[in-house]
């Protein structure tokens, strides 16, 4: 009796596990069949992969209603609810393409992204370190990109007819004041921030995001590294000093610190200088970074940079070169930055940042002196809202407090004090919309109020990009930008109007396998620039100056044509004039050169285990004001040439030797002329050319890595 029941049960259970088949066809919107789509019944192993005709057949024992899912890279998942007993169905499924960040159009107008994360970049941060002539200085390497002008006596980034101060640096979104280390008069300063601290940088030569303000020409946006992976200690000994760096890693946090001591005394003793040094520059610089993962998606970064430097030298009097004028430059600097990010959901994320700057700069020469204290505070909150992969919105607010205090003392002992106490409140919103993976728009608005002038400025910024083909795209950008005038103006007249600029940019980019090309044309209109007849007399100030810059930037990079060789070529044409300061009309400013050209080449030579780098830079004539001529800014410097060479020899995985020489051929570069304050008895102003402190700069260094694991390679730092 019971046996037949069992058989019945067996039979039933067999029947209930009878298989059914689900078949179908999967295609794109265009009708093209998709090969390799993973089609499956959710929650089970049952599924199939589409063949070359987009066809699939699934056999399953599931007879309840099931969810059939189709999943394919670059497309949205597609799900269908199938009712019971739908044996032998034939489905037709159309998959919708995702806006894929890898092949979608990217708005590139105005910006050069250098990052270790994305594969489709023009430059990565290592390129910065290994560029000959850059001496691992971020602005030094960026000066080989189009859109920059060689202004060798400052070492700063002069972008598209903008002054050096019109380029602002941001670390993890937070502003940095006073980012260059001090230098002797008319000698280049370096950025205080080591490129090794950053995983990515975006150098924008115009048209940048509404998130960034108080920069008329350019934004250098640096992203610091995330959690370190391994414990390590690095030591460097250089012809100019030494440093020690250490990284400790814990489960969810890491700490990196670097202390650097620079002293140029031994170097100057060996290599003759145009400057007579009493005490060659010395600098102690500490960089400390702590990172902690606060949750699965939350991350906190704390970063600080401290430095102290001093130098004493003798400058010769221009009129009487036998008279030595004792000169002293000192600087103390503290920068502290925190940034926190958290993702609340798939749609919402937040970034909160604070930064804090305290700096003191002092310079004196033969009884005259200038001392400036700057203290800056910056707080910012940014919300990211991702509506879909086609629409995202970013908005936020920030508060920038800046106090400055300047004391000038002239050779008669008279002093002039100036101060500023500025509060900038700003809010911004920016939306990015992808119409398709070939067409994208970005529109943003920034509202800013500066307490000193108490005027709300609205800065709209829009950009668009269209993909022409698999490798090429065009972008357009427009935006308005504002910035407070230079501190020296505000110290004399607190309510000095903000200066404004409008950018128009059109860009074409082609990114091929190992090769890239871009060309950009732009126009920039300045308004409300400060004019004066005497910079110390506020009553002579007016804020109606103007100017323009227009030009063309070309960039070509190729790492493919020549084996183990990577090179890039940049050319910039710039035409720019300004009517500002004490200019009697519209003139080309001294920092502008019409043509800038550079070639950077790097080659790894296996047989000598070395990377060689070569950089050639050219800048056409610059103007200077020849006081002995009637023509304003009528003097012309010779063209500028520089050929720099570097070599990095990998002695072992832990030891690297570096050598670098700039201006190998000793070109006689002159950046301009400076003149005596008063004419001599014949009414003639004595003059002297402004030159580099030495014809060549030579750098030698050895880098040693100590790590528990011997095979940690220095190669990535080469």
């Amino acid at each position: 009796m019971k046996v037949p029941f069992l058989f019945l049960y067996l039979l039933l259970s067999l029947q209930s596990t009878a298989q059914i088949t689900i078949g179908g066809y999967i295609k794109e919107k265009s009708g093209e069949p998709l090969l390799g789509v993973n089609v499956f019944i959710e929650g089970t192993y049952d599924g199939a992969t589409t063949d070359i005709n987009g066809k699939f057949t699934i056999t399953t024992y599931e007879t309840d209603s099931v969810i059939l899912a189709a999943s394919f890279v670059g497309f949205y998942d597609h799900k269908i609810l199938l009712d019971k007993k739908t044996d032998n169905v034939q489905l037709e499924i159309v998959l919708k393409e995702k806006i894929n960040k890898l092949n979608a159009v990217v708005i590139t107008a105005g910006s050069f992204d250098a990052s270790d994360e994305s594969k489709r970049v023009v430059l990565n941060s290592l390129d910065i370190v290994t560029t000959a002539g850059s001496t691992a200085d971020i602005p030094g390497a960026l000066n080989t990109l189009p859109g920059t002008q060689t202004v060798g006596e400052t070492g700063r980034l002069f972008v598209r007819g903008g002054e050096g101060r019109e380029t602002k640096t941001f670390i993890d979104g937070m502003i940095v004041h006073n980012e260059y280390s001090p230098s002797a008069p008319n000698t280049p300063g370096r950025s205080r921030f080591s490129p090794f601290m950053f995983k990515g940088m975006s150098f924008s030569t115009g048209g940048y995001s509404a998130e960034y303000g108080q920069a008329l020409s350019s934004a250098l946006i640096l992203k610091s590294k995330d959690l370190a992976e391994l414990n390590r200690t690095d030591l460097s000994f250089m012809s100019v000093g030494a440093d020690i760096a250490h990284t400790s890693v814990w489960k969810k946090s890491s700490f990196s610190g670097k202390i650097q001591y620079t002293n140029l005394t031994p170097y100057f003793a060996l290599v003759g200088q145009n400057i007579e040094w009493d005490k060659a520059p010395t600098d102690v610089n500490g960089n400390f970074a702590y990172r902690i993962k606060t949750s699965k998606t939350g991350f906190l970064k704390v970063y600080t940079n401290l430095s102290s430097s001093e130098m004493d030298l003798y400058e010769r009097d221009i009129a009487n070169p036998d008279v030595l004028l004792p000169t002293r430059v000192t600087s103390d600097y503290l920068y502290f930055n925190t940034s926190y990010r958290e993702v609340f959901s798939e749609k919402w994320g937040v970034r909160v940042g604070t930064s804090f700057t305290e700096s003191n700069d002092f310079a004196s020469q033969a009884g005259q002196s200038r001392e400036e204290d700057i203290s800056g505070r910056h707080g910012k909150v940014v919300m990211d809202y991702i509506h879909s992969d086609k629409l995202s919105v970013r908005f936020g607010g920030e508060l920038l407090l800046r106090k400055g205090d300047e004391t000038l003392i002239n050779d008669l002992g008279q002093s002039l004090d100036g101060g500023l106490d500025e509060t900038i409140t700003a809010g911004f919103v920016e939306a990015e919309r992808y119409v398709s993976s070939s067409l994208a728009f970005k529109a943003g608005m920034r509202l800013e109020n500066n307490s000193l002038v108490n005027e709300v400025v609205a800065n709209p910024r829009v950009s668009a990009a269209y993909k022409l083909g698999e490798k090429s795209q065009v972008s357009l950008a427009y935006g308005t930008f504002s910035q407070a005038p230079s501190n020296s103006i505000i110290y004399r007249f607190n309510a000095a109007n903000q200066e404004h600029a409008k950018h128009y940019i059109a860009n074409y980019q082609w990114l091929g396998e190992g090769r890239s090309f871009r060309v950009e044309i732009y126009r920039k209109d300045y308004s409300d620039l400060t004019r004066y007849s005497d910079e110390f007399t506020p009553s002579s100030f007016s804020f109606d100056g103007d100017g323009f810059a227009e030009g063309l930037d070309l960039f070509w990079r190729d790492s493919r044509t020549f084996k183990n060789t990577d090179y890039w070529v940049s050319y910039s044409y710039l035409n720019s004039e300004r009517h500002y300061r004490d200019y009697p009309g519209s003139f080309r400013p001294p920092f502008v050169s019409n043509h800038n050209f550079s070639v950077v080449a790097k080659r790894f030579i296996q047989s000598i285990k070395s990377q060689l780098g070569l950089t050639y830079s050219f800048a056409s004539q610059r103007r200077y004001n020849d006081l002995n001529e009637d023509v304003f800014l009528g003097g012309k410097t010779p063209n500028y040439h520089d050929l720099s060479f570097n070599i990095s020899y990998l002695y072992s995985n832990q030891i690297i030797f570096h050598a670098m020489v700039n201006n190998v051929f000793g070109f006689n570069n002159i950046f301009g002329y400076e003149y005596a304050d008063r004419p001599d008895s014949d009414g003639f102003y004595a003059s002297r050319p402004i030159r580099p402190p030495a014809k060549r700069f030579l750098f030698l260094g050895i880098l040693i890595t100590l790590a528990k694991n011997k095979s940690i390679s220095q190669l990535p730092n080469l």
């Binding site: 046996v3 192993y45 199939a48 992969t49 390679s713």
Partner: protein, 216 residues
């Protein structure tokens, strides 16, 4: 009679239980070798998709993703264009990361991650070499730190060391030492045919030793 019926029911229940509970092992036992053996991209992608399905259906097994990642690496070697290669490597990394959400700080997953970085170098050594060789090295180091007895981590590290040393102009860069360590570990391990835990590497190590460390 009753006893027979009870026995039969018992056997039946056990069989049903086994059939369900062993489903994962059975599926893996079929797909792991299929992944190694597939010789054309279409078949391989089919297997990788199957592994992904298993991974998605099982909430707490990292192995399917591990083998899916391996499959994507194999796929990457079968295609020509760099864009396709990158596409598969991106998916390989995504699979490793899925595995990591199930088991974090796992030596096997970490070495697989390093493997992906290593293959990234081969796509374009000139422009990728510096960055990705560093990442690969870091992953292998970390994998060894997590489990010094992971033979695959030593083997892959050896391959990276050799590649780097060759690129740098010769020598083995410590590769042979790593291979020897890997070999010793593999040979001391007991073979468990049924285990789905990663067990590959001995053959590759042997041929690497033969090719790179012996002869001349």
């Amino acid at each position: 009679m009753k006893k027979t019926i009870l026995t039969a029911i018992g056997i039946l229940c056990a069989a049903i239980l086994l059939a369900n509970g062993g489903q994962f092992e059975k599926a893996m036992a079929k797909n792991i070798p299929a992944m190694y053996q597939a010789s054309d991209p279409e078949t391989l992608l089919g297997v990788v998709n199957q592994l992904t399905r298993i991974g998605d259906a099982e909430a707490n097994r990292w192995e399917p993703y591990y083998y899916a990642a391996f499959g994507y690496i194999r796929l990457m070697t079968m295609v020509e264009s760099n864009e396709d290669k990158d596409k598969y490597l991106d998916q390989a990394i995504a699979a490793v990361e899925k595995g990591e959400t199930i088991k974090s700080n796992d030596s096997e997953l970490e070495s697989m991650k390093g493997y992906v970085h290593m293959m990234r170098v081969t796509v374009d050594p000139a422009s990728r070499g510096m960055q990705y060789s560093g990442l690969a090295m870091t992953s292998f180091q970390k994998a060894i730190a997590l489990n010094p007895q992971n033979g695959r981590a030593h083997f892959l590290l050896g391959r990276m060391q050799f590649g780097t040393a060759q690129f740098m102009g010769g020598g083995d860069g410590g590769a042979c030492e790593s291979f020897a360590r890997a070999k010793a570990i593999f040979e001391s391990e007991e073979k468990d045919e049924k285990s789905i835990a990663p067990s590959w590497g001995l053959r590759g190590t042997n041929s690497a030793i033969k090719e790179m460390c012996e002869g001349e």
